[in-house]
Each structure stands twice: as structure tokens, then as C-alpha cells.
Symmetry: C2
């Protein structure tokens, strides 16, 4: 039996979505974060040493890292290559966006978010103006010069193509939705109409809706 170890509203949402797209039978074990420290339930460390979700177990195998879990599920349960192109150049697109999502886009979003939370909740009022200037300077000098070209590239790509690998939905779309939704929730996507329409289109997929009900 496939078991997904899951914390709601984390990257493991994407694994539920792929399991639904593949029409697999699976169970979800849901864990919570500590409401104060935001630490994940320590029981997760009994399953995988880092204790971060998603963790997927299938027979004797225990898998972590979204991209690796996606590749595993497609290796085993997508023999007709419905969700992963089998030939280049489409496969190149698939691989690029699969790695780009967590290797390039997400780290910038997380860095900005961590600064925002630290400024908002962990900084005494009397040093806030100084810290705010430091955080703004980091955003201006490091995050924005990298993030904006990435979003512009994605916008241009989705203006030309319906999905990340072309005309057909693939697991690269599942991998990319999390950072795009994360960005949209924090900043809105008014400047990026193709990204906005793409998120809305994916949100209408039956498997996506089924995954949201369980996540």
C-alpha cells in the first residue's frame, strides 16, 4: 500500500495531486505542526531522518524530496508516459521545470518569506526600522534581480504554451504549481496574467480538486 505522510498545506499537496492524476490507491497519514514553534510533528523523524513532508512509503521503499517522489511514481505507475514526456525536446522541458521549481524559484520565495516573518514577528519595535531597511535592501539587491526575470520567463513561456511541457499537462506542472501559488498568495499575480490564468486552469482539474479535499 502506498502511504503518504502529509502535513496540510505543504509541498506534499503536490504528491496527493499526482496520486489522484495516476488514479492510484493510497492512504494519507496526516501530521500537524506545533502551533507555537511551527515545528513538524517529531514522529515524522521515525520515518525519515529530516522529518519533513512529503514522505512516501511504498512497500520497503521510503522516499522524500518532491521531485524524487514524482520521478519514482512515474517510473512505476505511468508506463504510458501520460505525465512525463519520453522523448526530447519535450523531456528537456519536463526536466528543466522539475528541477527549476525547487532549485531556483522556491529558494528565493522562501528567503523572502523568512525575512518577512522574522521582521514581523521576531523583531522588537525599537530596532524594526533598521531591520526593515536591511531586509528591503536584501530584497532589492539579491531577491528581486533574480525573482523578477524568473517570473518574466515563466510568464513568457505560459503565454506561448498551455502547460510547462507544451500542449499537454505533465508532472512538471504539479511541481511548478506550489511556488506559483505561493507567490500569488503573497503578492498577487496581476502583473502576470498568463501565470494567473494557468493557476486557475490547473485548479479546475478533477484530480487537483480531489487532492484539495484531502489536503
Amino acid at each position: 500500500m502506498i502511504t503518504l505522510h502529509h502535513i496540510p498545506d505543504t509541498r506534499s499537496n503536490r504528491i496527493i495531486w499526482l496520486l489522484e492524476e495516476l488514479k492510484l490507491t493510497y492512504q494519507i497519514k496526516t501530521y500537524q505542526r506545533d502551533p507555537v514553534t511551527k515545528e513538524a510533528d517529531a514522529k515524522l523523524k521515525d520515518i525519515h531522518p529530516l522529518g519533513k513532508t512529503p514522505i512516501l512509503t511504498d512497500g520497503d521503499l521510503c522516499l522524500a524530496e518532491s521531485g524524487a517522489i514524482i520521478e519514482y511514481l512515474l517510473d512505476h505507475y505511468d508506463s504510458e508516459h501520460q505525465f512525463r514526456p519520453n522523448h526530447y525536446p519535450q523531456k528537456q522541458q519536463y526536466l528543466y521545470w522539475l528541477h527549476f521549481s525547487e532549485g531556483s524559484l522556491m529558494p528565493l520565495l522562501i528567503m523572502g518569506y523568512v525575512h518577512h516573518i522574522a521582521l514581523d514577528k521576531g523583531t522588537p519595535w525599537w530596532v524594526k526600522p533598521v531591520i526593515k531597511q536591511f531586509v528591503s535592501s536584501l530584497a532589492k539587491r539579491f531577491i528581486q534581480p533574480r525573482l523578477t526575470p524568473q517570473l518574466q520567463m515563466i510568464e513568457a513561456h505560459l503565454t506561448q504554451q498551455a502547460f510547462f511541457c507544451g500542449d499537454t499537462f505533465s508532472a512538471a506542472d504539479i511541481q511548478m504549481m506550489i511556488p506559483l501559488q505561493f507567490y500569488q498568495q503573497r503578492f498577487g499575480c496581476d502583473a502576470y496574467p498568463a501565470i494567473s490564468a494557468y493557476i486557475e486552469k490547473n485548479s479546475q482539474r478533477q484530480a487537483y480538486k480531489a487532492s484539495v479535499k484531502q489536503s
Copy 2:
């Protein structure tokens, strides 16, 4: 002809290394960073919209993202699966470390490094104590609680196994060397003898030495 667009001492070192392991014929086009702004040569944007190295071109294909380039090269030039296991559970290890390297480990290292540089070079002396406390607090509350378990997991793994996928060297080792060397150069690896020995062992590989000469 395979062409690697390269900036010395960046992630694209790992692609030269893999090209050497695969004994391929290739050319390197070297670019530089602006000595003041540290921006990559703008000509790179003519090849790929983000203008970040590594970029690899092979015929009509133009590839970016280390992990995606590695997968492409193995798909095309490693038909005997010398550098990528073809079966589970070894393939699971390969996929895990391939994605973990840039998806989990590197973002924490980069965040710490960016804070360090911003504190060191971009902060006026009269606010430095306040900023230093903020940066230390971020390291203590966000970076270290994630980074230390990752390094401990890697140390335990490399205590039990010679390479990331078991007894045999694979491209997952190439993907993992960059963050491990980055960590070692900044903080030293005295607390992690298995990681230290692993870096030294890989550094003795003929293909690695050949790559260093060209990077």
C-alpha cells in the same frame, strides 16, 4: 558539438566533471562576472533567459539547471548506466540526492552566505550590531535547525556507504559535491569526518582533476 557555457567556480564545474567522466568531446565557452557588481556577463542572456551558468547546448537543444543537464547527459551518453542506477532501490538513492542537493541543502547555504555578505559588506558600522543580532537570530532559529540535521544525515550516510548511491560512484555524487565543498570552505568539516574523507576521495578522481584544470 556539445558546448558548455561556463563561469569559473560556479555550479557549472559539476557539468565539466560529468563531461570528463563520460569521456565526451566538448567545448567550454567561459564568461566572467563583473568584478564590482558580481553580475554574470549579460551575453549569457542571449543563450538562456536567466543568464545563469551552467548552460549546455547540444545541437538544437539548450539546457539549464544542473540536475536537468545531468539527466540529459545520462539519457544520451550513458547507455550502460555507469553513472545512474537503472533499478530501485539504488535509483531511489540517486533521485533523492540529485534533488536534495539543490532543493534542500544549497538554499540554506546560500541564505546564510547572502546574510554574511550583506552584513559584512553592505551594512554601515553604526547599525552593524543590530543587524548582526538579526542575522544570528535567523541562523539560530531558521538555518541551523534545518542544516545541522541535513549534515548529520549525510555524515551517517557516508559512514555507511562509499558513495551516495552505495558502493559505486554516480552522478548524484557530482551533484552533491558542490554544496559539500561550499560548506567545507566556509566552516570546515572537522565535525564531519566522513564528509571530509568523501570530498578528498572524489577530489582524487582523474575526471575531477581534469575538470578542475578547465574550470
